[in-house]
Structures are given as C-alpha cells and as structure tokens.
C-alpha cells in the first residue's frame, strides 16, 4: 500500500475488513469504493423483528482527506429513505457521533452499527417534527447543520 496517504491507507484497511467481516445486513459496494476511496455506497437491510424488516436502504459515506480526524459525511440516498424520527426525508441523519461526538477511534463499521441500532430501536415510524422546514432550508452537507441532539431514546 505504498504511495497512499494515511487517510487512504486507513480507508483501504477498513474496506478490506468490511468486505471480509461485514456486520449483519451491511454490504459495501467494493468496486465503487475502489474507484474512489473517498466515497462509498453501503447497502443496509432492515433488521428482522423491527419496524424496518424487509426494507433496503442505501447509505453514502463521503470522506475528507483529513479522515479519521474529520468525521465522514453520512447520508441515506436512493428511493427508500427510512422513515425515522432522526432521519430527514432528504437523507440527513441526526446522530451525534457523525459530528460533535466523532472520534478517530470510530470507523465505517461502528457508524453502520450505530445506524442499524438507531433504526432497530425505533418504536414509531415518523419523520422528525421539523422535517419540512429543515429539508427546505438546510445545507446540502449535513455536517454544516448545527444539530441539536435532543433525544437519546431512539
């Protein structure tokens, strides 16, 4: 892996381990990630026994050259955006580890596990209360949003 920057080297390692030992229901598009290591697409399956059973979601991860010091930009994309109190209809996710509580010891795998658990613990499928306003006014990059983490229960 000579000639790679430290962030590329770490991302290559993460890609390999996610490919070999993915968390249940999580599949990374390896070809796409190998074309551009700074942008990944991950398929996520709704866990059986939860409100999202049988659903398929797509997550997009964008990394900056400062990864892992800088958190990845993570959004749901595609036709099926999960209906969840912390997921806006434009795919933005209100999850503190993606901004304020990010740590370089976290990884794509741990972010995926957090999102799976966030979905799995949901009791009622609904959009965030401010969805319409947020989606109209927000920046394209969810990291530019000053999130207010008000609810840890789901």
């Amino acid at each position: 892996m000579a000639g790679l920057s430290p962030s590329e080297r770490r991302l290559q390692k993460e890609l390999m381990s996610l490919m070999k030992e993915p968390p249940p229901g999580v599949v990374v598009d390896v070809d796409l990630a190998e074309q551009n290591i700074l942008q990944w697409i991950i398929q996520m399956e709704g866990v059986s026994g939860t409100l999202y059973e049988g659903e398929q979601f797509q997550l997009q991860f964008k990394f900056s050259r400062k990864y892992p010091f800088d958190s990845p930009e993570v959004t749901f994309i595609g036709a099926n955006i999960p209906v969840h109190p912390h997921v806006y209809s434009n795919g933005h996710i209100c999850l503190s580890i993606l901004t304020d509580d990010w740590s370089p010891a976290l990884s794509v795998q741990s972010v995926c596990l957090s999102i799976v658990s966030m979905l799995s613990s949901c009791k009622e499928k609904k959009r965030p209360p401010d969805n319409a306003f947020y989606v109209k006014t927000c920046n394209k990059n969810p990291k530019k949003t000053k999130w207010w983490y008000h609810d840890d229960s789901v």
């Binding site: 430290p6 010091f69 800088d70």
Partner: protein, 148 residues
C-alpha cells in the same frame, strides 16, 4: 484554575521526557508513517482546529481560540511519550489502524490508552479527549497529578 502550564520546571520531570514541540515532524521515524497534516500549497502557514471540524489558519483564529490552542499545546507537552516495547496490551494504533512496531514513538494518555505520538497529537490539537474512551485528557491529567 491558575496558569499552571508555563511553569514546566516545577513539574514532575519524568512527564517531560521527550516533550518536544507538538508541531515538530520527525523525519527519521521508521515504520508506518502515522498521520501528518498534509498542506497542499501554503505549507508555511500552519492550520489549527479549535474544534475537530473547524479549520483555520493562524490569522483567522480569534483571541479565544488562540488561548484554547495554546493551552492545548502546553497540556499535550505534559503527556508522557515513549518507545513501543512490544507490550501486548496495545497492539494497534486505532487512529491509523496500523500495528505498533517495536521502536515506534508512542504517547500514553492518562487513561493508559496508547497511540502513535504523531497520530494522537494531531487529534489532541483538535480535541483534548481520548479517542477510545472519550475521557477528557485535561481533567484526567490533573487528577493523576493529585493522586501521585
């Protein structure tokens, strides 16, 4: 809390071992090259991160941010460093995800989590927390002074 960062001479000397400048780059380092900020063009002007997601050049820092960063630099210098000796407890630097090699320069946080010196310094310059346990490094350092 008083201004205790400047008075290095009265502190425990063992903590000051290898307390070289935080921005210094060690070119003679062997093994995996841990993280170093790569500055594309304006390499001469260092950038700072008052918080992990904020990047500013020296000229853009507010006075408050300058103080914050100066305190950080002072505190980082008080954290012990050493050379990786093959200790089985720490095998991999979780920041670069590269296994430690005997001889690597490492830094120990008060919570005893160990990282490559350049990897953790790069993070501590953004946030004074341990990446693994999220313990605030400054509070833990003060506690370790009191108990020892």
């Amino acid at each position: 809390m008083g201004n205790c960062l400047k008075r290095a001479t009265t502190d425990d000397i063992s903590l000051l071992r290898g307390s070289d400048s935080v921005r210094e780059t060690s070119s003679d380092q062997l093994g995996p090259s841990p993280y170093q900020e790569t500055l594309p063009i304006q390499a001469a002007s260092p950038v700072y991160h008052p918080s992990p997601s904020v990047t500013r050049s020296v000229g853009q820092l507010t006075e408050e941010e300058q103080v914050k960063i100066a305190k950080r630099i002072g505190l980082i210098q008080h954290l012990p460093t050493g050379t990786y000796d093959g200790c089985k407890k720490a095998r991999e630097c979780v920041i670069c995800m590269v296994e430690f090699i005997v001889g690597d320069t490492v830094r120990y946080l008060p919570c005893m989590h160990t990282y490559h010196k350049s990897c953790i310094d790069d993070w501590l310059m953004r946030s004074l927390t341990c990446p693994s346990c999220m313990e605030p490094v400054d509070a833990a350092l003060l506690t370790s002074y009191e108990t020892n």
